[in-house]
Amino acid sequence: MSVLRKNRKLKENEKNKRGFSKIKYSLSFLLFEIVFTAVTLTLIVFYGPFTNVKKTVVSDFINSGRHQYVARWFLSDAEINQLTNYSNAKNGLTTSNAKADVNEIQVEHKNDTGIQLENVDGGKFKGYILIINDPTRVKVAYTKYLGKEGQITSVMAQENDAVAAINGGDFEDEASVGSAKYTGTGGKPIGILISDGKVISDNNGNPDVKIGSFGMTPNGTMLVGKYSVNDFKAANVTDAISCEAMLLINGQPQVIGQSSGLAPRTAIGQMKDGSIIFLAIDGRSLSSVGASYEEVRNLMQQNGAINAVALDGGSSTTMYYNGNVINNPSDAVGERYVPSIVYAK
């Protein structure tokens, strides 16, 4: 009797031991996989064969502004540049010198009050399109605290009695105490900004230097290409903003200068009949990661745009229509302070 019991006890002990070592085995398996994967994944992404992945990750770091150093840990400046075209684009070396041919556009819908809203499903992103039939309604407005801080798109839209609006041009980022917190306030526009015939930003005091921009003429044609402030003045342009990327000129897809991964995007374009397209694509959330410039370009083309440019994207991306912000701005506090908007009265 007692021997039997002893035997049973021994067997139980062994079983427990085996069970325990199974848990131990699985735990060390998990731990190993996590550590090993974390280390090798970084290396595979930066040095492996997956060009798209590498390009996207590097561009995201470079364009974040704040975390460029992460990309520099792994790659030299030359390699980063080759991947993203970063410094070429910064120096304006990549876009062609093509200009929109104003005779291609026949403005057909003057005094037409129609605006059409469309939802875009792009798979990995969601977007919104507003088509404004009468291009002469489209104007540029800017922050009333110019030089100090920006305003949010919806407030600028309301102050200008706009029906529809998107955020406009890029701005200088600066922090008021130290630079670590990256608290740009959108008060200082970059490049050209012309509103209601007034030159608000003259491309850093270089009125003759050409920069990728769009401009609206009084008869509703949208000029797209590399222009200087004086070019715009000569062409009678009343409203203009420098842009992030040229997308379409005379129906021709433009080579995207600087790659910047997937992000929220804002774009503006014009169709053959003169109608203006506003586009906003949400990003940086699970339901909508964002789009590349190439995708914005393709989307604009599919929608009938002949000339199109990308405006300031990222957390600036905002679309306003009929009293409400209709997209989902990516920052925690919602809309960002921006220096300018494009709107339709």
Binding site: E118, S285, Q302
Partner: protein, 342 residues
């Protein structure tokens, strides 16, 4: 030993195969530039500009409002709600699963709440959420502000939409508070305060700066270490507000009532600040400093709001719910009334 290596090499292969598989999928399919998109027309209705009669629920407590009075928010027994005063639509703001709402505050120029939550039971982390009242969408801001247990409360949230900084005042118990700063990259840091007894806090709208009351030494301290504010003639200074020109508004409290209000920028010597006399002593709860720097004072008994700098009076009906930057919200017989300032 050989057995271990055998296992290790299988593990390595598993990891590498999965990684290459997933990266291959992302590279070839997910990151492939899309060329066709589904576009669908939306029929929109232009909103009617018609005033709707809005009822305030009888058991509503802690009533608050967005800067322009378009939305009011309140608590009922079943939680936090927002009410769109233009159409009467009510939305329930539900905490994330397993959470309770500790505190919320409106962002000062938009229809958005910043909410602090923590686990309804036991201990965990204080989490920040944002809530878009226009769309009813709640987003995560940061899940790890600081630890929390059943004694932890959140006493204030200060938000600057210009700099994207969010400050959270956490009370550990009645004599120990902490302030945490969440920046645009969602990095959290604890503010090194001069004491652990902290009163009101206020963000300077357009600077990386927060001012707080150090209740231990009865001083007002700025997080900008170049700033040192000394109010030689005020025994107990309290923070009343801040405006868009980065002025802060400070009152001296005598017997629980404010006698004078001083305002200026934190880096200017307080002797150069401007001041306004508060008639008959003011209850700090009856006072609002707007973004434009107007100081509005409510008189409950008379049903009147006075702009202190100009002495302009505005009368309203019923009992006050809240003064916003644009208008006075009050209720009479359960109905919401809006009165614009004169």
């Amino acid at each position: 030993m050989i057995k271990i290596f055998k296992h290790l090499s299988i593990w390595i292969v598993i990891s590498l195969v999965t990684q290459f598989g997933v990266l291959y999928y992302i590279d070839k399919y997910y990151l492939k530039t899309e060329t066709t998109f589904k576009i669908e027309k939306v029929v929109t209705q232009v909103p009617k500009q018609q005033e709707v009669s809005i009822n305030i629920p009888q058991d509503a407590t802690k009533i608050n409002a967005s800067y322009d009075g378009k939305f009011i928010s309140y608590c009922e027994s079943d939680g936090l709600k927002t009410l769109d005063t233009t159409n009467g639509q009510i939305r329930v703001v539900t905490p994330d699963k397993g959470n309770k709402i500790l505190f919320y505050n409106w962002v000062s120029d938009r229809h958005r709440l910043i909410i602090a939550e923590d686990p309804a039971q036991g201990s965990g982390e204080i989490q920040l959420k944002s809530y878009d009242a226009d769309k009813g969408i709640k987003n995560n801001v940061n899940n790890n502000i600081t630890w929390s247990n059943s004694y932890t409360t959140v006493a204030d949230i200060q938000i600057s939409q210009a700099t994207n900084l969010i400050y959270v005042k956490v009370n550990r118990n009645s004599y120990k508070s902490e302030i945490y700063e969440n920046d645009v990259m969602n990095d959290v840091s604890e503010i090194n305060t001069t004491s652990s007894r902290i009163g009101n806090i206020k963000i300077i709208p357009n600077a990386d700066e927060l001012v707080y009351e150090d209740l231990y030494s009865n001083r007002i301290v700025s997080t900008n270490d170049k700033v040192s504010m000394n109010f030689s003639n005020i025994q107990k200074p309290v923070i009343l507000g801040a405006d868009d020109d980065n002025n802060i508004y400070v009152g001296n409290v005598v017997n629980g009532l404010i006698a004078n209000i001083y305002y200026g920028q934190t880096d200017a010597p307080t002797s150069q600040w401007q001041s306004v006399k508060a008639p008959n002593g003011l209850d700090p709860n009856n006072l609002l400093v707007t973004e434009n720097g107007d100081i509005y004072v409510n008189d409950d008994l008379k049903g009147q709001v006075t702009a202190l700098k100009t002495n302009q009076m505005t009368s309203y009906k019923g009992t006050l719910i809240k003064m916003t930057d644009n208008e006075i919200l009050s209720q009479e017989n359960g109905k919401l009334l809006k009165t614009t300032y004169k």
